[in-house]
């Protein structure tokens, strides 16, 4: 059982969220049509673990890039231009590009990993959350707590409250 509360005003929405949080409703989802820093603070989100992915990707890319260039020139000993077979300066450029490429790719991976997307299963959602409504979703509330959550939401000034069955 999930409770959805839709707000027209950001302040009401944030108020409801804070109250729910302090009342012990931990499985909260705060839907907004635009990123709200306060909402993220309420959810306790600080530094995202995405950055680890970025770093790992960059390091991997750097190593892979340099290794690829060196390995290629060692497998095919084809001297060019009187240069050494392992020609470091040009390989650094390859390394640089690969660093960025894998940094970006790993960041993308990290995004999916951390955000839980893609999630194509139906989840409690209101289309208006994508337009101009701020929606609080309380999930996993015990049956006896539902009424309390609903009350908090209503008191905060929600213009619509809905109950949605969660599929387990």
């Amino acid at each position: 059982m999930a409770i959805l509360g839709s707000f027209a005003f950001e302040e009401d929405f944030l108020g409801a969220a804070r109250k729910l949080k302090s009342s012990g409703f931990d499985k909260l989802s705060l839907l907004s049509p635009l990123p709200l820093e306060e909402a993220q603070e309420i959810m306790g989100l600080e530094k995202s673990p995405v950055r680890h992915f970025s770093l790992a990707g960059a390091i991997f890319g750097a190593i892979a890039g340099f290794a690829m260039a060196v390995a290629t020139s060692l497998v095919f000993i084809l001297p060019t231009g009187g240069r050494a077979i392992i020609t470091v300066p040009p390989f650094l450029i390859i390394t640089y590009e690969m660093t960025i490429l894998f940094g970006v790719l790993f960041t993308l991976l990290g995004f999916h990993f951390v955000s839980g997307l893609p999630a194509w299963r139906d989840k409690p959602y209101l289309t208006s959350a994508g337009i101009d409504r701020f929606v609080v979703i309380v999930e996993g509330a015990a049956a006896d707590q539902v009424a309390r959550a609903e009350a908090i939401i209503r008191d905060a000034g929600a213009d619509e409250i809905r109950h949605v069955e969660e599929d387990q």
Partner: protein, 441 residues
């Protein structure tokens, strides 16, 4: 910020999505036109060239690189506005970026695609282009990572990948908005595109972080891409190519032409999609100021190039210089100087900076000048290399001119398709710039 009063959140959605979801006959006519121009001017000559050989173009022994490469640099340059500018402004948190960056990034992506097409057109045996990728091929041989062209391959591939991801990730919340506003097949498609985005605080948070990292990666990447393109030239010993200033020169020129390109695109968005509400004087003014700055840097580098060449005083460089200033292509050189160094100075006047029509004209002139600049670099240096007996000329053939014209049609076609698939203005970021709604206000 908004010339016609602040819209509500719902209006933002409606305004922006309507350009996507409602399609009039004019759009189809325009699309049909650009597609046929692209087909007739770009692809048909190219197919002819594939059959005949690159000899269909005007290049010759004295100038084996021609307009295909100058067009390539031009389009790569144009691509530098979007992603780079968007990333820089994102990191510096400039609010005026938000309504223009989506189109700017699209411009990046499409001009990059057009540029890649020019590489294909340029190649003698394009059917073996995959040999230049580090993937297994029938030769059992991997590419030469010492080659500046390999730097190019790596850089452009990375840039294309990173730009695509950058624009796509930025659009995910908007895809969700499209999903919510549509039905049927489109809804199903956008469900997939949007990854099931709901707009939870966690999603926003992760996206914000990831997006910032993309931006951080993209800035040095974009700088490296055009530096590397410049090294295709600067790493040779050819007089007129062999300058240390080339990398900053190219990067500056790229941002310059890209920014001018944004002005043109903004004008079109405003004019044809009715985004007057979102793209306003403040954008024009900011871009105008940016353009003046870039133009001054560009002029400075040009003067520097002339000066160092003259000061160096080697026969090779001086000959290349005098050919550039007074030779066969001198009119083009002076045209470039007027369009890129002198015309932009007009923007010092606020009156001009605040006029959409005048800015459009200036931005187009700048890009014509930049197109010429690339052509001059390619066409005037090669025929004046080291051995005077091998001096020559290069004149583009009709095939080349036609393909150059066709490339613009391809770009416009891609853009037209883009505005029907992706919201041309970032919905959620426009909302960020609006004052939050307060009860009883």
């Amino acid at each position: 910020m908004f010339d016609h009063g602040q819209p509500s959140y719902a209006e933002v959605n409606k305004d922006i999505l309507s350009t996507m979801l409602e399609t009039g006959p004019k759009y189809w006519m325009l699309l049909g036109m650009t597609m046929s121009v692209a087909g007739i001017c770009f692809f048909m000559p190219w197919i002819y060239q594939l059959f005949v050989g690159v000899g269909a173009a005007g290049m010759n022994h004295n100038a084996v690189w021609g307009s295909y490469l100058s067009n390539f640099i031009f389009w790569i340059g144009l691509s530098h506005s979007g992603t780079l500018l968007s990333a820089v402004l994102h990191i510096t948190n400039s609010p005026w970026r938000k309504s223009i960056y989506r189109s700017a990034e699209a411009m990046t992506l499409f001009s990059l695609m057009t540029a890649t097409l020019f590489v294909m057109v340029h190649l003698g045996r394009v059917w073996f282009v995959h040999w230049s990728f580090p993937i297994p091929n029938q030769m059992g041989l991997w590419p030469n990572f010492r080659s500046p062209l390999m730097f190019d391959v790596m850089a452009i591939t990375t840039y294309l990948t990173a730009s695509s991801i950058f624009i796509y990730m930025g659009s995910v919340p908007d895809f969700a908005a499209v999903r919510d506003a549509s039905t049927g097949l489109r809804r199903r498609l956008y469900t997939i595109f949007s990854f099931g985005w709901r707009g939870t605080a966690r999603e926003w948070h992760t996206l914000g972080w990831a997006y910032t990292f993309f931006a951080v990666f993209v800035i040095p990447l974009a700088v490296s891409v055009h530096s590397i393109v410049s090294w295709d030239f600067a790493l040779s010993a050819v007089p007129g190519f062999h300058h240390t200033i080339f990398a900053p020169y190219f990067v500056c020129g790229a941002i310059y032409s890209g920014t001018a390109g944004i002005v043109t695109v903004m004008y079109c968005l405003r004019k044809f999609l009715g985004f007057e509400r979102y793209i306003g004087q403040v954008h024009l003014d900011s871009l105008g100021k940016l353009l003046i700055t870039l133009s001054l840097i560009w002029s400075y580098i040009n003067i520097l190039e002339l000066f160092t060449t003259w000061f160096g005083g080697t026969s090779f460089e001086l000959e290349a210089l005098s050919f550039r200033l007074t030779g066969f292509y001198a009119p083009l050189y002076w045209e470039m100087l007027i369009f890129c160094a002198f015309v932009p100075l007009l923007m010092l006047f606020k009156k001009i900076r605040w006029s959409w029509n005048k800015m459009l004209l200036i931005s187009i002139l700048i890009n014509i000048g930049m197109l010429t600049e690339r052509f001059i670099i390619v066409a005037t240096s090669q025929p004046r290399k080291f051995l005077p007996d091998s001096f020559g000329y290069y004149v583009p053939s009709w095939i080349e001119i036609s393909i150059s014209v066709g490339s613009f049609a391809i770009f416009v076609t891609l853009f037209l398709i883009f505005i029907k698939w992706v919201p041309a203005i970032s919905i959620y970021e426009v909302k960020e710039t609006l004052k939050p709604l307060r009860r009883n206000v």
